[in-house]
């Protein structure tokens, strides 16, 4: 086998998570047109979300760089990239908060239609995952500052990286299925 317990455990957990999001994505697709006469996919602002999606995607790159720095034992550079990753995550989250506000004002209200419920709960759960990821990134940042994380403990960075990449991949799916495809179908 040769895989560390924690890494294997993380893989198993992420496998489960994948189905979790799969469930919400399915529900969303089912309810794509169940807008109860209210606002539907036309509310999406594809250029805006594309930018925030791009930021999140780029954070995967900085995450890889952080892990790479850690494997070389370069904690200083690792911290730098970790901060960059967390920062991009926060930009993405900020974008989501802004987006939710705009959608809400334009009449996409969670309690109005199955479509709205499915949209907010799916993307909301993704946002919660990003938030947890940011917490983990900031934690490892602080722990490495106070010497709790040693240069040889790059597995910890790798684990957070696994999680972070997973959250990113899920967003790629969400962005495609939730935003792009319906939008194209509408146009």
């Amino acid at each position: 086998m040769g895989v560390d317990h924690r890494k294997l455990g993380m893989w198993a957990f992420l496998g489960s998570e994948f189905l979790f999001f799969g469930g919400f994505v399915t529900a969303y697709l089912l309810y794509l047109e169940s807008t109860a006469g209210g606002v539907g996919v036309e509310v999406f602002d594809i250029p805006f979300t594309s930018i925030s999606s791009f930021v999140l995607l780029m954070s995967s790159l900085t995450m890889v760089l952080a892990h790479h720095a850690h494997t070389r034992g370069d904690l200083r550079r690792m911290r730098l990239w970790i901060l960059a990753t967390a920062g991009q995550g926060m930009v993405f989250l900020g974008g989501q908060v802004y987006e939710f506000n705009v959608f809400y004002r334009e009449g996409l209200v969670l309690t109005d239609s199955p479509f709205a419920s499915a949209f907010y709960v799916l993307t909301g759960f993704h946002g919660v995952h990003v938030f947890i990821g940011i917490l983990m990134l900031l934690s490892i940042f602080v722990f490495s500052l106070i010497g709790k994380i040693k240069p040889n403990q790059h597995l910890k960075t790798e684990m957070i990286g696994l999680y972070w990449h997973f959250v990113d991949i899920i967003w790629v799916v969400i962005f495609t299925v939730v935003y792009l495809i319906p939008e194209i179908a509408v146009l």
Binding site: H5, F115, S117, S139
Partner: protein
């Protein structure tokens, strides 16, 4: 609270000591956790049993009003939730905990503190669910929680949505834990095809949990949002689809059936060979059939929905998969029977319950096949025929197997035997009571009695009434039988006959260690050369091909070389318990939509998590260096 003289790394002192309350609540020992699971299950089992008593009392005669319809609906809902989520699943978890590390030759599970976390989440989830009785009434929408009845506030299903999600977290953590344990921590030489069948079934079960829990988590979050926030997932008025709930629920719910039955199948696959004194007939077939059941189990969910709003194509497809899954099930049954064939059977209580399992489960399996006859399923569905069917599977099946396991491994855990005479009384009354309760339900269902009615309608006629009376009498027998069991359990713990280390002439690794098991399990991690390793250390073939016993002690693995050597075990920890307490504010916050409570709960759990992270697994570890993890073998067992 134990103070420590050693310098500690965590936020606060580490608990010390091997006994006393604090040793239990802070334990990270898989055996202690297994025992705690068992004791908790016992409490919930009697609660769920009492609920079934209420149900059967109400239905003893037609048109009774012993309890109001409101109470009755709460009681049958809680009976289902209790027996599925608080009894059968965690009882299996109790066995995983105690046995899996022992059977694969490991000293603990992969994540000992996560294991403790799983237990506490389970316990608190159960308490949380039951607290609803004192907070405006228990959930009353049925354990299947069909929307939109479930999203109507009168059904009190917020507790169900949140409570089941809490329990799901427990199961998910345990699933990750046991999958990693089984894949990574097998003793040297313990290849997959040398693993005991119970370990195999544990592995399959935990994979099922891993992939079956997400759909119900999704469904429960939706239900929670619908009931508490006012989301529209299942509201037909705004275009929500109630059938979505059914798909998501049964996408979990059918694998769930196998989650409940496979561990019992594993247990029986250990006991039957021991009791027959010959190896399991067709080990590979039993293992692969189990895996196949797990796999196909994800493709049959809509057979719970044959009368729902699904079309003829879906009905046909799921009829075929449902028939198909009977094949591996049949393979297992025949392999068990032929394990006994040609053996020298010893009818100790575990063996009796195992044979009872095979016999009763067969009945459940056959009535299951009749469900696949979709046109007639429309007559059986949601009647007492179905109630009979799933009790033959889950009671006659899962519970018989699990009880067999209790009798079988009791000496392993306590070093004492359970009383055989009482055990036999328990078995025969259990078998009688069970069949008396659930046998007649086949008929009362076909004669038109729907399930989940708060009264037995008099118009169904005298025959149905008679069957119902028999069922109620059966429950009376079962209650008596359960009390015999409880008495036996308590008496045997106090004054049971000493069992010795190998009371059954067993076959698998857990019996290599002394009973009760020492906290570090193995003095030396065994090297495995055979399937049924322990048996092969005891027996060898002589020149004539006849099996003979190896002289006692010749191969016992109490290797004195290792005595006094420091065995690295995880230390106890407060954190799993402390952290888990946060589920209460979080849970009630989600039920009553109180953001303060939710915030406190989340904060509590995050702080708990940090306490957990900062504290090393074992004192003296300077947060173990990364490279020391050799996943398979002796070193890994220490982590």
């Amino acid at each position: 609270m134990a103070s420590s003289t050693v310098e500690t790394k965590g936020f606060k002192g580490r608990p010390k000591g091997e006994s006393g309350l604090s040793a239990w609540i802070t334990t990270t020992d898989h055996k202690k956790i297994g025992i705690m699971y068992f004791v908790t299950v016992l409490v919930f089992f009697f609660l769920g049993g009492a609920e079934s008593g209420v149900i059967r009392a109400q239905l003893a005669q037609a048109e009774m009003d012993l309890v109001t319809a409101e109470i009755y609906n709460q009681v049958f809902t809680m009976h289902g939730i209790t027996m599925v989520f608080l009894v059968v699943m965690p009882l299996s978890a109790a066995f995983f905990n105690y046995l899996v590390p022992l059977m694969i030759g490991a000293r603990d599970v992969a994540f000992p503190r996560l294991n403790a976390f799983s237990y506490w989440v389970y316990l608190f989830g159960g308490i949380f669910l039951y607290s609803s009785f004192f907070l405006g009434g228990a959930p009353s929408g049925g354990w299947t929680g069909y929307a939109p009845l479930a999203s109507d506030a009168v059904s009190n299903m917020a507790f169900y949505a949140v409570g089941l999600n809490i329990l799901g977290v427990s199961s998910l953590a345990a699933a990750v834990n046991f999958i990693v344990t089984i894949l990574n921590m097998r003793a040297p030489g313990m290849t997959f095809m040398r693993m005991p069948v119970f370990v195999w079934m544990s592995l399959v079960t935990n994979f099922l949990l891993l992939f079956a829990l997400p759909p119900i988590a999704v469904a429960l979050f939706m239900l929670n949002a619908d009931t508490v926030v006012g989301a529209q997932f299942f509201e037909p008025a705004s275009g929500g689809d109630p059938i979505l709930w059914q798909h998501l629920f049964w996408l979990f719910g059918h694998p769930e059936v196998y989650i409940m039955i496979l561990p019992a199948m594993g247990i029986v696959s250990e006991i039957l060979p021991t009791g027959s004194r010959k190896p399991l007939f067709g080990y590979a077939a039993v293992v692969f059939a189990g895996a196949a059941i797990g796999f196909i189990g994800f493709g049959v969910w809509a057979h719970h929905m044959f009368t729902s709003a699904i079309g003829p194509v879906a009905r046909s497809a799921f009829a075929l998969t449902t028939m198909f899954i009977a094949v591996p099930t049949g393979i297992k049954i025949f392999n068990w029977v032929f394990t006994m064939w040609g053996g020298k059977l010893r009818f100790h209580t575990p063996m009796l319950f195992s044979i009872g399992f095979v016999s009763m489960f067969t009945i459940g399996g056959l009535s299951g096949v009749t469900h696949a006859i979709v046109p007639h399923n429309a007559q059986q569905h949601d009647t007492y025929y179905v109630v009979a069917h799933f009790h033959y599977v889950l009671f006659g099946g899962a519970l018989f197997g699990l009880i067999a396991g209790i009798y079988y491994w009791f000496p392993k855990v306590t070093g004492k035997l359970m009383d055989e005479k009482l055990g036999k009384v328990h078995f025969w009354t259990w078998l009688l009571g069970f069949n008396l309760t659930f046998g007649p339900m086949h008929m009362s269902g076909l004669l038109g009695q729907p399930r989940r009615t708060a009264v037995l309608p008099g118009e169904l006629g005298g025959t149905v009434e008679l069957y119902n009376l028999l069922s109620t009498l059966g429950v009376v027998v079962l209650i008596g039988s359960a009390l015999v069991f409880l008495f036996n359990l308590i008496r045997s713990i106090k004054a049971g006959q000493a069992a010795g280390d190998d009371p059954w002439d067993a076959r698998t690794l857990e019996w290599i260690t002394p009973s009760p098991t020492p906290s570090h399990n193995f003095d030396a991690i065994p090297t495995v050369t055979h399937r049924d390793e322990f048996w092969h250390r005891k027996y060898a073939e002589d020149d004539a091909g006849k099996v003979v016993r190896v002289p006692a002690g010749a191969s016992e693995d109490h290797d004195t070389d290792h005595e006094g050597e420091h065995i690295h075990m995880p230390d106890p920890s407060y954190w799993p318990l402390v952290q888990t307490l946060g589920v209460f504010p979080l849970g009630y916050g989600l039920v009553y939509l109180n953001f303060w409570l939710i915030g406190i709960g989340v904060l509590w759990m995050v702080i708990g998590l940090y306490g957990w992270i900062i504290e090393p697994l074992a004192e003296g570890d300077d947060d173990e260096p990364e490279d020391a993890h050799t996943p398979t073998g002796a070193a890994a067992a220490a982590h």
